[in-house]
Protein backbone atom coordinates (compact mmCIF):
# COMPACT_ATOMS: atom_id res chain seq x y z
CA UNK A 1 0.00 0.00 0.00
CA UNK A 2 1.39 3.40 -0.99
CA UNK A 3 1.08 5.96 1.77
CA UNK A 4 -0.63 9.31 1.43
CA UNK A 5 2.19 11.64 2.52
CA UNK A 6 1.91 15.14 3.97
CA UNK A 7 5.34 16.80 4.14
CA UNK A 8 5.45 19.95 6.27
CA UNK A 9 6.65 22.92 4.18
CA UNK A 10 7.66 25.15 7.14
CA UNK A 11 6.84 25.86 10.76
CA UNK A 12 3.18 26.91 10.89
CA UNK A 13 2.58 30.49 12.06
CA UNK A 14 -0.65 29.55 13.82
CA UNK A 15 -2.06 26.46 15.53
CA UNK A 16 -3.54 24.13 12.95
CA UNK A 17 -6.49 21.79 13.29
CA UNK A 18 -5.53 18.60 11.43
CA UNK A 19 -8.66 16.70 12.37
CA UNK A 20 -9.86 16.37 8.74
CA UNK A 21 -6.71 14.46 7.79
CA UNK A 22 -7.79 10.98 8.90
CA UNK A 23 -8.43 7.94 6.69
CA UNK A 24 -12.19 7.91 7.16
CA UNK A 25 -12.50 11.56 6.07
CA UNK A 26 -9.99 11.48 3.22
CA UNK A 27 -11.26 8.35 1.52
CA UNK A 28 -12.42 8.97 -2.07
CA UNK A 29 -11.23 12.61 -2.10
CA UNK A 30 -9.37 13.85 -5.17
CA UNK A 31 -5.93 15.49 -4.82
CA UNK A 32 -7.51 18.90 -5.45
CA UNK A 33 -10.14 18.34 -2.81
CA UNK A 34 -7.49 17.33 -0.28
CA UNK A 35 -5.37 20.39 -1.11
CA UNK A 36 -8.36 22.65 -0.44
CA UNK A 37 -9.15 21.35 3.06
CA UNK A 38 -8.92 24.24 5.52
CA UNK A 39 -6.78 23.77 8.63
CA UNK A 40 -6.58 27.25 10.16
CA UNK A 41 -7.62 28.10 13.70
CA UNK A 42 -7.37 31.88 13.26
CA UNK A 43 -8.91 34.23 10.73
CA UNK A 44 -6.00 33.68 8.37
CA UNK A 45 -7.07 30.94 5.97
CA UNK A 46 -4.62 28.07 5.55
CA UNK A 47 -5.31 25.02 3.40
CA UNK A 48 -3.58 21.67 3.25
CA UNK A 49 -1.72 22.75 0.10
CA UNK A 50 -0.37 25.82 1.89
CA UNK A 51 1.04 23.83 4.77
CA UNK A 52 2.03 20.49 3.27
CA UNK A 53 3.43 19.09 0.08
CA UNK A 54 1.00 16.25 -0.67
CA UNK A 55 2.05 13.00 -2.26
CA UNK A 56 -1.07 11.04 -3.13
CA UNK A 57 -1.49 7.47 -2.00
CA UNK A 58 -3.98 5.24 -0.23
CA UNK A 59 -5.77 7.24 2.47
CA UNK A 60 -5.81 4.14 4.70
CA UNK A 61 -2.10 4.77 5.34
CA UNK A 62 -1.21 8.38 6.04
CA UNK A 63 2.28 9.68 6.79
CA UNK A 64 3.23 13.10 8.10
CA UNK A 65 6.82 14.02 7.35
CA UNK A 66 7.93 16.63 9.83
CA UNK A 67 6.09 17.68 12.94
CA UNK A 68 5.53 20.69 15.13
CA UNK A 69 3.88 21.36 18.47
CA UNK A 70 1.30 23.56 16.67
CA UNK A 71 -0.10 20.59 14.72
CA UNK A 72 -3.18 19.87 16.80
CA UNK A 73 -5.80 17.13 16.65
CA UNK A 74 -3.89 14.71 14.49
CA UNK A 75 -5.91 11.50 14.25
CA UNK A 76 -9.04 13.17 15.69
CA UNK A 77 -12.02 10.84 15.42
CA UNK A 78 -9.99 8.36 13.40
CA UNK A 79 -11.95 5.17 12.75
CA UNK A 80 -9.61 2.94 10.78
CA UNK A 81 -6.29 2.75 8.95
CA UNK A 82 -2.92 4.01 10.13
CA UNK A 83 -1.34 7.40 10.63
CA UNK A 84 2.42 7.72 11.09
CA UNK A 85 3.81 11.05 12.24
CA UNK A 86 7.54 11.63 11.94
CA UNK A 87 7.89 14.54 14.33
CA UNK A 88 6.17 16.25 17.24
CA UNK A 89 2.46 16.90 17.46
CA UNK A 90 0.36 19.43 19.36
CA UNK A 91 -2.61 18.90 21.60
CA UNK A 92 -5.43 16.36 21.40
CA UNK A 93 -3.63 13.87 19.14
CA UNK A 94 -5.96 10.91 18.64
CA UNK A 95 -8.81 12.57 20.51
CA UNK A 96 -12.06 10.58 20.18
CA UNK A 97 -10.31 7.92 18.13
CA UNK A 98 -12.60 5.00 17.44
CA UNK A 99 -10.23 2.60 15.70
CA UNK A 100 -7.07 2.39 13.67
CA UNK A 101 -3.48 3.07 14.73
CA UNK A 102 -1.73 6.36 15.33
CA UNK A 103 2.06 6.29 15.61
CA UNK A 104 3.83 9.45 16.71
CA UNK A 105 7.62 9.37 16.40
CA UNK A 106 8.07 12.42 18.55
CA UNK A 107 6.52 14.27 21.45
CA UNK A 108 2.78 14.76 21.92
CA UNK A 109 1.12 17.75 23.58
CA UNK A 110 -1.63 17.67 26.18
CA UNK A 111 -4.80 15.59 25.90
CA UNK A 112 -3.32 12.95 23.61
CA UNK A 113 -5.90 10.15 23.33
CA UNK A 114 -8.52 12.31 25.02
CA UNK A 115 -11.87 10.54 25.09
CA UNK A 116 -10.51 7.82 22.83
CA UNK A 117 -12.90 4.88 22.36
CA UNK A 118 -10.84 2.27 20.49
CA UNK A 119 -7.65 1.81 18.53
CA UNK A 120 -3.98 2.26 19.35
CA UNK A 121 -1.79 5.31 19.93
CA UNK A 122 1.95 4.90 20.29
CA UNK A 123 4.06 7.91 21.20
CA UNK A 124 7.79 7.27 21.06
CA UNK A 125 8.60 10.50 22.89
CA UNK A 126 6.84 12.02 25.85
CA UNK A 127 3.20 13.00 26.25
CA UNK A 128 1.86 16.21 27.75
CA UNK A 129 -0.60 16.67 30.59
CA UNK A 130 -3.94 14.90 30.85
CA UNK A 131 -3.03 11.98 28.63
CA UNK A 132 -6.36 10.37 27.65
CA UNK A 133 -8.19 12.83 29.88
CA UNK A 134 -11.46 14.65 29.29
CA UNK A 135 -11.79 18.23 28.15
CA UNK A 136 -13.40 20.68 30.54
CA UNK A 137 -17.01 19.75 31.14
CA UNK A 138 -16.73 16.15 29.98
CA UNK A 139 -17.53 13.44 32.50
CA UNK A 140 -15.17 10.73 31.25
CA UNK A 141 -11.79 10.55 29.60
CA UNK A 142 -10.50 7.68 27.55
CA UNK A 143 -13.05 4.86 27.29
CA UNK A 144 -11.31 2.20 25.25
CA UNK A 145 -8.24 1.29 23.24
CA UNK A 146 -4.56 1.36 24.11
CA UNK A 147 -2.14 4.26 24.53
CA UNK A 148 1.59 3.65 24.87
CA UNK A 149 4.05 6.39 25.75
CA UNK A 150 7.65 5.28 25.45
CA UNK A 151 9.00 8.16 27.57
CA UNK A 152 7.38 10.35 30.22
CA UNK A 153 3.85 11.65 30.66
CA UNK A 154 2.69 14.93 32.14
CA UNK A 155 0.33 15.57 35.02
CA UNK A 156 -2.98 13.75 35.43
CA UNK A 157 -2.21 10.98 32.95
CA UNK A 158 -5.35 8.87 32.67
CA UNK A 159 -7.56 11.50 34.26
CA UNK A 160 -11.11 10.13 34.50
CA UNK A 161 -10.02 7.04 32.57
CA UNK A 162 -13.10 4.89 32.10
CA UNK A 163 -11.94 1.89 30.07
CA UNK A 164 -8.90 0.85 28.07
CA UNK A 165 -5.23 0.83 28.91
CA UNK A 166 -2.51 3.46 29.16
CA UNK A 167 1.11 2.33 29.36
CA UNK A 168 3.81 4.85 30.24
CA UNK A 169 7.31 3.45 29.98
CA UNK A 170 8.96 6.49 31.57
CA UNK A 171 7.87 8.56 34.56
CA UNK A 172 4.45 10.05 35.19
CA UNK A 173 4.05 13.49 36.73
CA UNK A 174 1.69 14.33 39.58
CA UNK A 175 -1.81 12.91 39.95
CA UNK A 176 -1.38 9.97 37.56
CA UNK A 177 -4.75 8.24 37.27
CA UNK A 178 -6.60 11.03 39.01
CA UNK A 179 -10.37 10.53 39.23
CA UNK A 180 -10.12 7.22 37.39
CA UNK A 181 -13.51 5.62 36.80
CA UNK A 182 -12.10 2.25 35.67
CA UNK A 183 -9.52 0.93 33.21
CA UNK A 184 -5.81 0.33 33.64
CA UNK A 185 -2.84 2.70 33.88
CA UNK A 186 0.68 1.28 34.03
CA UNK A 187 3.76 3.38 34.80
CA UNK A 188 7.12 1.72 34.25
CA UNK A 189 9.06 4.56 35.83
CA UNK A 190 8.26 6.57 38.93
CA UNK A 191 5.02 8.41 39.52
CA UNK A 192 4.82 11.93 40.86
CA UNK A 193 2.88 12.88 43.97
CA UNK A 194 -0.58 11.54 44.72
CA UNK A 195 -1.22 8.91 42.06
CA UNK A 196 -4.84 7.72 41.88
CA UNK A 197 -6.09 10.91 43.46
CA UNK A 198 -9.84 10.40 44.04
CA UNK A 199 -9.96 7.36 41.77
CA UNK A 200 -13.22 5.37 42.03
CA UNK A 201 -12.30 2.09 40.37
CA UNK A 202 -9.66 0.74 38.03
CA UNK A 203 -6.07 -0.37 38.34
CA UNK A 204 -2.86 1.66 38.51
CA UNK A 205 0.42 -0.24 38.34
CA UNK A 206 3.45 1.71 39.53
CA UNK A 207 6.60 -0.30 38.82
CA UNK A 208 8.90 2.07 40.69
CA UNK A 209 6.46 3.53 43.17
CA UNK A 210 5.61 7.15 43.78
CA UNK A 211 7.19 10.15 45.49
CA UNK A 212 4.17 10.80 47.67
CA UNK A 213 1.41 8.28 48.14
CA UNK A 214 -1.92 9.48 49.48
CA UNK A 215 -2.73 8.20 52.99
CA UNK A 216 -6.22 7.45 51.68
CA UNK A 217 -4.96 4.24 50.03
CA UNK A 218 -5.23 1.20 52.31
CA UNK A 219 -2.57 -1.52 52.27
CA UNK A 220 -3.99 -4.96 51.45
CA UNK A 221 -0.66 -6.79 51.49
CA UNK A 222 1.44 -8.42 48.77
CA UNK A 223 -0.36 -10.68 46.30
CA UNK A 224 0.40 -12.68 43.20
CA UNK A 225 -2.80 -11.77 41.39
CA UNK A 226 -4.03 -14.14 38.71
CA UNK A 227 -5.66 -11.27 36.85
CA UNK A 228 -2.18 -9.85 36.34
CA UNK A 229 -1.36 -12.92 34.24
CA UNK A 230 -4.21 -11.90 31.94
CA UNK A 231 -2.94 -8.33 31.97
CA UNK A 232 0.58 -9.54 31.15
CA UNK A 233 -0.66 -11.55 28.19
CA UNK A 234 -2.47 -8.49 26.89
CA UNK A 235 0.39 -6.00 27.26
CA UNK A 236 3.18 -8.31 26.09
CA UNK A 237 2.94 -7.22 22.43
CA UNK A 238 3.26 -3.59 23.54
CA UNK A 239 5.81 -3.81 26.33
CA UNK A 240 7.38 -7.17 27.10
CA UNK A 241 9.38 -5.83 30.04
CA UNK A 242 6.26 -4.55 31.76
CA UNK A 243 4.50 -7.81 31.00
CA UNK A 244 7.16 -9.62 33.01
CA UNK A 245 6.96 -7.10 35.82
CA UNK A 246 3.22 -7.44 36.37
CA UNK A 247 3.62 -11.20 36.81
CA UNK A 248 5.59 -10.64 40.02
CA UNK A 249 3.91 -10.37 43.44
CA UNK A 250 2.81 -6.77 44.07
CA UNK A 251 1.47 -4.79 47.00
CA UNK A 252 -2.21 -3.98 46.59
CA UNK A 253 -3.39 -0.63 47.87
CA UNK A 254 -7.15 -0.01 47.91
CA UNK A 255 -8.45 3.43 47.26
CA UNK A 256 -8.99 6.22 46.99
CA UNK A 257 -10.79 5.77 50.32
CA UNK A 258 -11.56 9.49 50.21
CA UNK A 259 -14.04 8.55 47.50
CA UNK A 260 -15.61 5.31 46.29
CA UNK A 261 -12.47 3.35 47.21
CA UNK A 262 -12.95 0.43 44.81
CA UNK A 263 -9.78 1.15 42.83
CA UNK A 264 -6.33 -0.24 43.38
CA UNK A 265 -2.71 0.76 43.07
CA UNK A 266 -0.32 -2.16 42.55
CA UNK A 267 2.97 -1.18 44.06
CA UNK A 268 6.42 -2.73 44.44
CA UNK A 269 6.32 -5.04 47.49
CA UNK A 270 9.15 -3.46 49.48
Amino acid sequence: MTALVFSLREQPMQRLDLSPLVPNRLANLSPAEIQRIELQTTRQRLCVGDVFRVQMGDAELIRFEGGHERLDRIGYGMERGEIHVHGDVGCQAGRLMNGGKLYIAGTAGPWAGSGMKAGLIEITGSAGDRLGGPLAGETAGMRGGVVIVRKDAGERAGDRLRRGMIIIEGDAAAYAGSRMIAGTLIVRGRAGPLPGYLMSRGTIVLAEGSNVLSPTFADCGVHDLLSNALMAAFIKPYSSELAEFVRTPLRRLMGDMAGVGKGEILYPPA
Binding site: S227, A229, L230, A233
Partner: protein
Protein backbone atom coordinates in the same frame (compact mmCIF):
# COMPACT_ATOMS: atom_id res chain seq x y z
CA UNK B 1 -31.17 -57.15 10.78
CA UNK B 2 -28.74 -56.99 7.84
CA UNK B 3 -25.21 -56.83 9.05
CA UNK B 4 -21.74 -55.88 7.89
CA UNK B 5 -18.64 -57.55 9.16
CA UNK B 6 -15.41 -55.87 10.16
CA UNK B 7 -12.54 -57.85 11.63
CA UNK B 8 -15.01 -60.53 12.68
CA UNK B 9 -17.28 -58.06 14.47
CA UNK B 10 -20.86 -57.92 13.22
CA UNK B 11 -22.09 -54.39 12.54
CA UNK B 12 -25.81 -53.72 12.25
CA UNK B 13 -27.01 -51.84 9.20
CA UNK B 14 -28.71 -49.26 11.35
CA UNK B 15 -28.14 -45.72 12.56
CA UNK B 16 -27.82 -43.66 15.69
CA UNK B 17 -30.57 -41.08 15.92
CA UNK B 18 -29.46 -37.85 17.59
CA UNK B 19 -31.06 -34.56 18.54
CA UNK B 20 -30.29 -30.87 18.25
CA UNK B 21 -29.10 -29.41 21.53
CA UNK B 22 -27.81 -26.15 22.95
CA UNK B 23 -24.24 -26.35 24.16
CA UNK B 24 -21.52 -24.28 25.71
CA UNK B 25 -17.95 -24.79 26.87
CA UNK B 26 -15.74 -23.40 29.62
CA UNK B 27 -12.05 -23.70 30.38
CA UNK B 28 -11.19 -24.27 34.03
CA UNK B 29 -7.63 -23.54 35.13
CA UNK B 30 -5.91 -24.15 38.43
CA UNK B 31 -2.41 -24.05 39.95
CA UNK B 32 -2.02 -27.75 39.07
CA UNK B 33 -3.75 -29.93 36.52
CA UNK B 34 -4.96 -32.12 39.38
CA UNK B 35 -7.04 -29.23 40.74
CA UNK B 36 -8.31 -28.19 37.32
CA UNK B 37 -9.44 -31.76 36.77
CA UNK B 38 -10.97 -31.89 40.23
CA UNK B 39 -13.06 -28.78 39.63
CA UNK B 40 -14.12 -30.09 36.21
CA UNK B 41 -15.07 -33.49 37.58
CA UNK B 42 -17.07 -31.91 40.39
CA UNK B 43 -18.84 -29.62 37.95
CA UNK B 44 -19.71 -32.46 35.57
CA UNK B 45 -20.76 -34.92 38.25
CA UNK B 46 -24.45 -35.83 38.08
CA UNK B 47 -24.66 -34.65 34.48
CA UNK B 48 -25.13 -37.94 32.66
CA UNK B 49 -28.50 -37.39 31.04
CA UNK B 50 -30.95 -34.57 30.53
CA UNK B 51 -33.64 -37.03 31.60
CA UNK B 52 -32.79 -36.43 35.22
CA UNK B 53 -29.80 -34.08 35.50
CA UNK B 54 -30.88 -30.97 33.64
CA UNK B 55 -27.88 -31.15 31.38
CA UNK B 56 -25.25 -33.49 30.03
CA UNK B 57 -21.69 -32.45 30.75
CA UNK B 58 -18.21 -33.83 30.64
CA UNK B 59 -14.55 -33.13 30.14
CA UNK B 60 -13.58 -32.60 26.52
CA UNK B 61 -9.82 -32.40 26.99
CA UNK B 62 -6.99 -31.15 29.13
CA UNK B 63 -5.24 -27.99 27.94
CA UNK B 64 -1.54 -27.36 28.37
CA UNK B 65 -0.52 -24.35 30.45
CA UNK B 66 0.83 -22.46 27.46
CA UNK B 67 -2.54 -22.67 25.71
CA UNK B 68 -4.79 -21.33 28.48
CA UNK B 69 -5.62 -17.65 29.03
CA UNK B 70 -3.72 -17.38 32.31
CA UNK B 71 -0.79 -19.70 31.61
CA UNK B 72 -1.87 -22.42 34.04
CA UNK B 73 -2.94 -25.98 33.26
CA UNK B 74 -6.57 -26.27 32.31
CA UNK B 75 -9.45 -28.53 31.41
CA UNK B 76 -12.17 -27.85 28.85
CA UNK B 77 -15.70 -28.79 29.88
CA UNK B 78 -18.71 -29.07 27.57
CA UNK B 79 -22.32 -28.68 28.71
CA UNK B 80 -25.40 -29.66 26.70
CA UNK B 81 -29.06 -28.92 27.42
CA UNK B 82 -32.33 -28.78 25.55
CA UNK B 83 -32.97 -25.06 26.01
CA UNK B 84 -30.90 -21.92 26.38
CA UNK B 85 -32.64 -21.11 29.67
CA UNK B 86 -31.81 -24.51 31.15
CA UNK B 87 -28.24 -24.36 29.87
CA UNK B 88 -27.75 -20.93 31.45
CA UNK B 89 -29.16 -22.19 34.74
CA UNK B 90 -27.00 -25.31 34.76
CA UNK B 91 -23.86 -23.39 33.81
CA UNK B 92 -24.39 -20.80 36.49
CA UNK B 93 -25.17 -23.31 39.22
CA UNK B 94 -22.42 -25.75 38.36
CA UNK B 95 -19.64 -23.17 37.93
CA UNK B 96 -20.88 -21.32 40.99
CA UNK B 97 -21.01 -24.36 43.24
CA UNK B 98 -18.17 -26.46 41.88
CA UNK B 99 -15.58 -24.20 40.22
CA UNK B 100 -15.84 -20.99 42.22
CA UNK B 101 -15.45 -23.11 45.34
CA UNK B 102 -12.43 -25.10 44.14
CA UNK B 103 -9.00 -23.93 45.42
CA UNK B 104 -7.11 -21.67 43.05
CA UNK B 105 -9.57 -22.09 40.20
CA UNK B 106 -10.37 -19.69 37.38
CA UNK B 107 -12.95 -20.06 34.62
CA UNK B 108 -12.86 -18.80 31.04
CA UNK B 109 -14.94 -19.04 27.89
CA UNK B 110 -14.32 -22.32 26.11
CA UNK B 111 -16.32 -21.52 22.99
CA UNK B 112 -16.40 -18.49 20.75
CA UNK B 113 -19.81 -17.89 19.22
CA UNK B 114 -22.07 -15.02 18.27
CA UNK B 115 -24.56 -15.84 20.98
CA UNK B 116 -23.37 -15.84 24.56
CA UNK B 117 -24.27 -17.12 27.99
CA UNK B 118 -23.51 -15.31 31.21
CA UNK B 119 -20.54 -16.72 33.07
CA UNK B 120 -18.78 -14.19 35.31
CA UNK B 121 -21.63 -11.79 34.62
CA UNK B 122 -23.86 -14.13 36.64
CA UNK B 123 -21.33 -15.17 39.29
CA UNK B 124 -19.89 -11.73 40.07
CA UNK B 125 -22.63 -11.04 42.60
CA UNK B 126 -20.90 -13.44 44.97
CA UNK B 127 -18.43 -10.58 45.39
CA UNK B 128 -21.05 -8.60 47.29
CA UNK B 129 -19.88 -5.33 45.79
CA UNK B 130 -16.14 -6.06 46.06
CA UNK B 131 -15.98 -7.66 42.61
CA UNK B 132 -13.83 -5.93 40.02
CA UNK B 133 -14.39 -5.88 36.27
CA UNK B 134 -11.29 -5.87 34.06
CA UNK B 135 -11.38 -5.61 30.29
CA UNK B 136 -8.28 -6.49 28.30
CA UNK B 137 -8.89 -5.90 24.60
CA UNK B 138 -12.23 -7.41 23.69
CA UNK B 139 -12.32 -9.78 26.66
CA UNK B 140 -13.97 -8.89 29.93
CA UNK B 141 -13.21 -10.63 33.19
CA UNK B 142 -14.57 -10.47 36.71
CA UNK B 143 -12.32 -10.66 39.73
CA UNK B 144 -14.28 -11.91 42.72
CA UNK B 145 -12.48 -11.77 46.09
CA UNK B 146 -12.45 -15.19 47.78
CA UNK B 147 -10.64 -16.54 50.80
CA UNK B 148 -7.59 -17.86 48.91
CA UNK B 149 -7.23 -14.75 46.75
CA UNK B 150 -9.41 -13.96 43.79
CA UNK B 151 -11.69 -16.02 41.56
CA UNK B 152 -11.11 -14.81 38.02
CA UNK B 153 -13.94 -15.53 35.62
CA UNK B 154 -14.56 -14.41 32.06
CA UNK B 155 -17.79 -12.41 31.74
CA UNK B 156 -19.43 -14.61 29.11
CA UNK B 157 -18.93 -17.76 27.12
CA UNK B 158 -20.26 -18.85 23.74
CA UNK B 159 -23.53 -20.65 23.04
CA UNK B 160 -24.08 -22.91 20.05
CA UNK B 161 -27.49 -24.03 18.89
CA UNK B 162 -26.12 -26.50 16.39
CA UNK B 163 -24.84 -29.03 18.91
CA UNK B 164 -25.86 -32.67 18.76
CA UNK B 165 -26.85 -34.89 21.65
CA UNK B 166 -27.48 -38.59 21.68
CA UNK B 167 -25.01 -39.97 19.19
CA UNK B 168 -24.39 -43.54 20.31
CA UNK B 169 -22.98 -46.96 19.69
CA UNK B 170 -24.30 -50.11 21.32
CA UNK B 171 -21.62 -52.68 22.06
CA UNK B 172 -22.75 -56.30 22.36
CA UNK B 173 -20.38 -58.95 23.67
CA UNK B 174 -20.32 -62.52 24.88
CA UNK B 175 -19.90 -61.54 28.51
CA UNK B 176 -19.70 -58.51 30.75
CA UNK B 177 -15.92 -58.58 31.06
CA UNK B 178 -15.13 -58.55 27.33
CA UNK B 179 -17.85 -56.01 26.61
CA UNK B 180 -16.41 -53.67 29.24
CA UNK B 181 -12.92 -54.06 27.80
CA UNK B 182 -14.24 -53.04 24.39
CA UNK B 183 -16.25 -50.14 25.81
CA UNK B 184 -13.18 -48.85 27.67
CA UNK B 185 -11.17 -49.02 24.46
CA UNK B 186 -13.88 -47.08 22.64
CA UNK B 187 -14.02 -44.39 25.33
CA UNK B 188 -10.24 -44.03 25.32
CA UNK B 189 -10.29 -43.60 21.58
CA UNK B 190 -13.16 -41.07 21.68
CA UNK B 191 -11.25 -39.03 24.28
CA UNK B 192 -8.87 -37.93 21.55
CA UNK B 193 -11.70 -36.52 19.42
CA UNK B 194 -12.19 -32.77 20.01
CA UNK B 195 -15.54 -31.12 20.80
CA UNK B 196 -17.26 -34.24 22.15
CA UNK B 197 -18.07 -35.71 25.53
CA UNK B 198 -19.28 -39.10 26.69
CA UNK B 199 -21.36 -38.06 29.71
CA UNK B 200 -22.10 -41.38 31.41
CA UNK B 201 -19.90 -42.84 34.19
CA UNK B 202 -16.51 -43.41 32.68
CA UNK B 203 -18.17 -42.70 29.34
CA UNK B 204 -20.22 -45.90 29.47
CA UNK B 205 -23.96 -46.46 30.04
CA UNK B 206 -25.11 -49.90 31.08
CA UNK B 207 -28.74 -48.92 31.46
CA UNK B 208 -29.65 -47.82 27.98
CA UNK B 209 -33.25 -46.70 27.96
CA UNK B 210 -36.25 -46.65 25.71
CA UNK B 211 -38.79 -43.86 25.54
CA UNK B 212 -41.79 -44.30 27.84
CA UNK B 213 -42.79 -46.83 30.44
CA UNK B 214 -45.73 -48.92 31.52
CA UNK B 215 -45.78 -46.75 34.65
CA UNK B 216 -47.26 -43.25 34.63
CA UNK B 217 -44.78 -40.45 35.14
CA UNK B 218 -41.70 -42.30 33.93
CA UNK B 219 -40.35 -40.71 30.75
CA UNK B 220 -37.90 -43.51 30.10
CA UNK B 221 -37.45 -47.10 31.15
CA UNK B 222 -35.08 -49.99 30.62
CA UNK B 223 -34.31 -50.93 27.04
CA UNK B 224 -35.74 -54.42 27.42
CA UNK B 225 -34.97 -55.40 23.83
CA UNK B 226 -31.25 -55.17 24.67
CA UNK B 227 -31.32 -56.74 28.16
CA UNK B 228 -29.60 -60.15 27.92
CA UNK B 229 -31.65 -61.59 30.76
CA UNK B 230 -34.82 -60.93 28.76
CA UNK B 231 -33.69 -62.63 25.56
CA UNK B 232 -36.66 -64.92 25.78
CA UNK B 233 -39.29 -62.19 26.16
CA UNK B 234 -40.25 -62.20 22.51
CA UNK B 235 -39.08 -58.77 21.41
CA UNK B 236 -35.37 -59.11 22.14
CA UNK B 237 -32.93 -57.72 19.60
CA UNK B 238 -30.09 -59.87 20.91
CA UNK B 239 -28.57 -62.94 19.33
CA UNK B 240 -28.05 -66.13 21.24
CA UNK B 241 -24.32 -65.47 21.65
CA UNK B 242 -24.76 -62.03 23.25
CA UNK B 243 -24.46 -61.99 27.03
CA UNK B 244 -23.81 -58.32 27.84
CA UNK B 245 -24.56 -54.92 26.26
CA UNK B 246 -23.05 -51.52 26.96
CA UNK B 247 -23.85 -48.22 25.28
CA UNK B 248 -21.65 -45.20 24.66
CA UNK B 249 -23.61 -41.98 24.35
CA UNK B 250 -21.87 -39.09 22.61
CA UNK B 251 -22.68 -35.38 22.65
CA UNK B 252 -20.79 -33.06 20.34
CA UNK B 253 -20.64 -29.42 19.39
CA UNK B 254 -21.24 -30.32 15.73
CA UNK B 255 -22.66 -33.29 13.80
CA UNK B 256 -19.19 -33.82 12.33
CA UNK B 257 -17.59 -34.16 15.76
CA UNK B 258 -20.20 -36.74 16.83
CA UNK B 259 -19.58 -38.71 13.64
CA UNK B 260 -15.83 -38.56 14.25
CA UNK B 261 -16.30 -39.83 17.79
CA UNK B 262 -18.53 -42.69 16.69
CA UNK B 263 -16.00 -43.59 14.01
CA UNK B 264 -13.20 -43.60 16.58
CA UNK B 265 -15.20 -45.72 19.00
CA UNK B 266 -16.16 -48.26 16.35
CA UNK B 267 -12.58 -48.47 15.09
CA UNK B 268 -11.24 -49.15 18.57
CA UNK B 269 -13.73 -51.93 19.27
CA UNK B 270 -13.38 -53.50 15.84
CA UNK B 271 -9.60 -53.52 16.29
CA UNK B 272 -9.97 -55.73 19.37
CA UNK B 273 -11.84 -58.38 17.34
CA UNK B 274 -14.46 -60.82 18.68
CA UNK B 275 -12.00 -62.86 20.75
CA UNK B 276 -10.84 -59.99 22.97
CA UNK B 277 -13.75 -57.62 22.59
CA UNK B 278 -17.32 -57.67 21.37
CA UNK B 279 -19.25 -59.68 18.83
CA UNK B 280 -21.60 -57.05 17.48
CA UNK B 281 -22.09 -53.27 17.24
CA UNK B 282 -25.47 -51.63 16.97
CA UNK B 283 -26.93 -48.17 17.51
CA UNK B 284 -30.00 -46.73 19.17
CA UNK B 285 -32.73 -44.99 17.22
CA UNK B 286 -36.44 -44.28 17.29
CA UNK B 287 -37.21 -45.20 13.71
CA UNK B 288 -35.77 -41.95 12.41
CA UNK B 289 -38.85 -39.88 13.18
CA UNK B 290 -37.72 -38.04 16.30
CA UNK B 291 -34.14 -36.90 15.82
CA UNK B 292 -32.91 -34.89 12.82
CA UNK B 293 -29.39 -36.36 12.89
CA UNK B 294 -28.90 -39.92 11.61
CA UNK B 295 -25.45 -41.46 11.88
CA UNK B 296 -25.41 -44.67 9.83
CA UNK B 297 -22.93 -47.23 11.11
CA UNK B 298 -22.10 -48.42 7.59
CA UNK B 299 -20.69 -44.95 6.89
CA UNK B 300 -18.49 -45.07 9.99
CA UNK B 301 -16.97 -48.52 9.80
CA UNK B 302 -13.18 -48.45 9.33
Amino acid sequence: MPQLNANGVRIDDTFAEAFAMRATAVIITAPAVRWARQAAQTMTGFATSIIGCGCEAGIDCEIAADATPDGRPGVRVLLFAVSTTELQKQLQNRVGQCVLTSPGSACYAGLEAEEELKLGNALRFFGDGWQISKRFGDKRYWRVPVMDGEFVCEATTGLTKSAVGGGNIVLMGADAQKTLVAAEAAVASIAAVPDVIVPFPGGIARSGSKVGSKYKGAAASTNDAYCPTLKGCGRSELDADIGSVLEIVIDGLTPASVAAAMRAGIAATVALGPERGILRIGAGNYGGKLGPHHFHLKDLVP
